[in-house]
């Protein structure tokens, strides 16, 4: 098929139109066929053709299968360019990060990466790590596990102002598989147990900043006086910002056996602790439950086996530190944010890069 642009004609494979220009498609890696350029032309496809006419703003100057060079027009934003070429506005960061610029200037070319050029986040100075922050309760009462709403808001403000990108936990999986680059300074937020202080105090703040978070609930807790209700969880899930995942059924330390508990009964119990919250949450909230937070942060081989049987893809401990791409998905690290920590301590927890001289 031919795509007609005023003054020029470029022959492009039909798939390019469906994949590259559709607002609905979300191509991680555009297929080779989608980017085939007429073979008689060199790898760089001058849109001006043999006449070398100037490229107009809003048009692609050149491209190959890894990137294209685009000339922005007035009104273009990173989000609109990402939507046009990368399948979604939320991928604007790929353009920002690559070009190391904070603004689109009409008439100044931008390189648009068409695939994850560094999916593992490694360079000669070290490697990217993704911190997963772990919160519990919010409020004004004393206690290290309780964070005041003011402190939480201050932390979220800090993240936004300093260019941190808060991702969904589910975004991490492809990074761990080495197939998807994540933004520099990516951070994930999680909240454990399912206290309703999350809904009353933290959720409004997350909405204000548009930050996603994952709540890990243990299903025996639901129905308690200070626990989230199903209606509250439904509301948060419907907002698109909050995901609800599993934190066991009973919140006991699953690495410990009951007195006299035989192997098969222990395995069975752990199987229940994996499968039951998954079934309940999926049924009640119509979400896919594929992440698990270990109670007490403790795991063993049998528990990991039971999670794999229930098709969990990621599981989180409370071993501190960031997660490089080679972290085992069922043993992810998390850093606890405590009520008595100040902002300086919070900043120190944001381990987004591990410096190692690899020259």
């Amino acid at each position: 098929m031919r795509l007609r642009c005023p003054g020029r004609t470029v022959r492009i494979a039909a798939a390019l139109v469906a994949v590259g220009l559709s607002a609905c498609a979300v191509p991680e890696r555009p297929t080779e066929s989608a980017l085939v350029v007429e073979r008689s032309r060199p790898a760089y496809a001058p849109v001006g053709g043999a006449t070398k006419k100037p490229v107009r703003p809003g048009q692609v100057i050149a491209r190959n299968d890894r990137f294209l060079i685009y000339l922005p027009a007035a009104g273009d934003t990173f989000a609109s360019i990402a939507n046009q070429f990368l399948g979604g506005e939320d991928r604007g960061w790929m353009i920002t990060d690559f070009n190391e610029t904070a603004e689109v200037r009409p008439g100044q070319p931008l390189v648009v990466p068409l695939q994850s050029l560094n999916p593992t986040g490694v360079n000669p100075n070290g490697y990217q790590t993704i911190p997963i922050l772990c919160y519990h309760r919010f409020g004004s009462e004393e206690g290290k596990m309780v964070l005041s709403p003011a402190a939480f808001a201050q932390q979220m403000e800090y993240l936004q102002r300093n260019g941190y990108r808060v991702l969904r936990l589910s975004d991490l999986y492809a990074f761990l598989g080495g197939t998807r680059q994540l933004p520099a300074r990516a951070v994930v937020l999680t909240i454990d147990d399912g206290y309703n202080s999350m809904y009353h105090q933290a959720y409004p703040i997350l909405k204000r900043y548009g930050f996603p978070a994952t709540v890990f609930v243990y299903t025996d807790f639901i129905g308690a006086r200070d626990a989230l209700t199903w209606d509250q969880m439904k509301e948060m899930v419907a907002s698109g910002l909050i995901d609800v995942q599993a934190h066991s059924k009973t919140h006991t330390n699953l690495t410990l056996r009951q007195p006299g508990e035989a192997d098969n009964r222990y395995r069975e119990r752990l199987g229940t602790e994996a499968a039951t919250p998954q079934e309940i949450i999926q049924r009640k909230l119509h979400v896919n439950v594929s992440s698990y937070a270990y109670p007490y942060g403790d795991a063993n081989g049998i528990m990991i086996e039971q999670l794999a049987k229930s098709n969990y893809r990621m599981a989180l401990t409370v071993d501190p530190g960031g997660n490089p791409f080679f972290t085992p998905p069922l043993l992810l690290r998390r850093t606890m944010i405590l009520g008595d920590q100040d902002l300086e301590t919070f900043k120190a927890q944001l381990q987004v890069f591990k410096t190692v001289d690899l020259h």
Binding site: R66, N123, G301, T335
Partner: protein, 282 residues
């Protein structure tokens, strides 16, 4: 083709960037920049040559790094292997051999750590009978602090909890583990006396690794005994009283230290003699 007069700044900026990246040995990024330039100006032979050179450097760097990584693995040095696999990825971030190897090493390391930690805690330790929600939260919090490396915080929380619930054997295990971990940390910081205090606090309930713990404690005691002995040796000519204090400490840490006890006895005798002389003179 880009109009040189309009887009020259773009081309120049990317060329400068490519050269700087090359100088910093950041070949993966340099290769991308040359690729951008070669795409903009395919007739430019210099860009094509530079791109070719960058690709060759990358191939060589990956090859050498993977070989070194394998050597390190064969020699049982996983830390060195990790570094070389990462180096391979710094040349080619999509290299699947390096990526998979790193995942395998990390998985093995995690499994070993988990096994060690869980074995230390769970053998002969039953899960507790149901505590109240508040009690469970206290213990959970202490365990979370322990996992986060805040051993002192965990100890403080568990001490307080155990005053109210002294029969909770599981909490005692966690407390012993916290003391043990803090002791290890102090050792790494070369704070031997603090380390000894912590490890001795772990001794009472840390039956799982009793022999190992005793061996660690004995080693530290002997090391401290020797340190204080040497301190005494340095000062005894100028300050006998200080030397006596040092040798007393030495003998406290290790009553079997071969020289400390003898030196201490002689020094005390000397001290007595000197006092007698002083009294006589007065």
């Amino acid at each position: 083709m880009l109009e040189p007069s309009t887009y020259q700044p773009f081309e120049e900026a990317h060329r400068d960037k490519a050269l700087k990246l090359q100088q910093s040995q950041r070949w993966a990024e340099a290769e991308l920049e040359w690729e951008i330039l070669a795409t903009i100006a395919p007739q430019n032979a210099d860009y094509q040559n530079q791109l070719k050179e960058a690709k060759a450097r990358i191939a060589k760097g990956v090859d050498e790094s993977l070989k070194s990584a394998e050597d390190a693995r064969q020699h049982g040095d996983p830390q060195a292997a990790i570094r070389f696999y990462l180096r391979a990825l710094s040349f080619d971030p999509t290299n699947s051999t390096a990526a998979e190897s790193l995942r395998r090493i990390e998985q093995d390391t995690h499994r070993l750590n988990l096994h060690t930690r869980v074995a230390r805690m769970s053998k002969d330790t039953a899960a507790p009978k149901s505590n109240s929600a508040s009690e469970r939260r206290d213990v959970e919090f202490a365990v979370l602090l322990l996992r986060q490396g805040d051993y002192a915080g965990s100890i403080k929380t568990l001490d307080k909890y155990l005053k109210a619930s002294p029969k909770d054997e599981l909490a005692r295990r966690y407390l012993a583990d916290a003391h043990f971990q803090l002791g290890q940390q102090r050792l790494e910081q070369e704070r031997k006396e603090d380390a000894l205090t912590q490890l001795e606090a772990a001794k009472g309930t840390h039956e799982q690794d009793a022999a190992e713990l005793k061996a660690s404690i004995d080693t530290i005691r002997k090391a401290l005994a020797e340190e204080y002995y040497q301190k005494g040796m340095k000062v005894y000519r100028a300050n006998l009283d200080e030397a006596i204090v040092d040798w007393e400490r030495s003998v406290q840490y290790d009553p079997t230290h071969p020289q400390a006890a003898i030196r201490l006895q002689r020094a005390r005798q000397m001290q007595q003699n000197l006092k007698a002389i002083d009294s006589g003179q007065q």
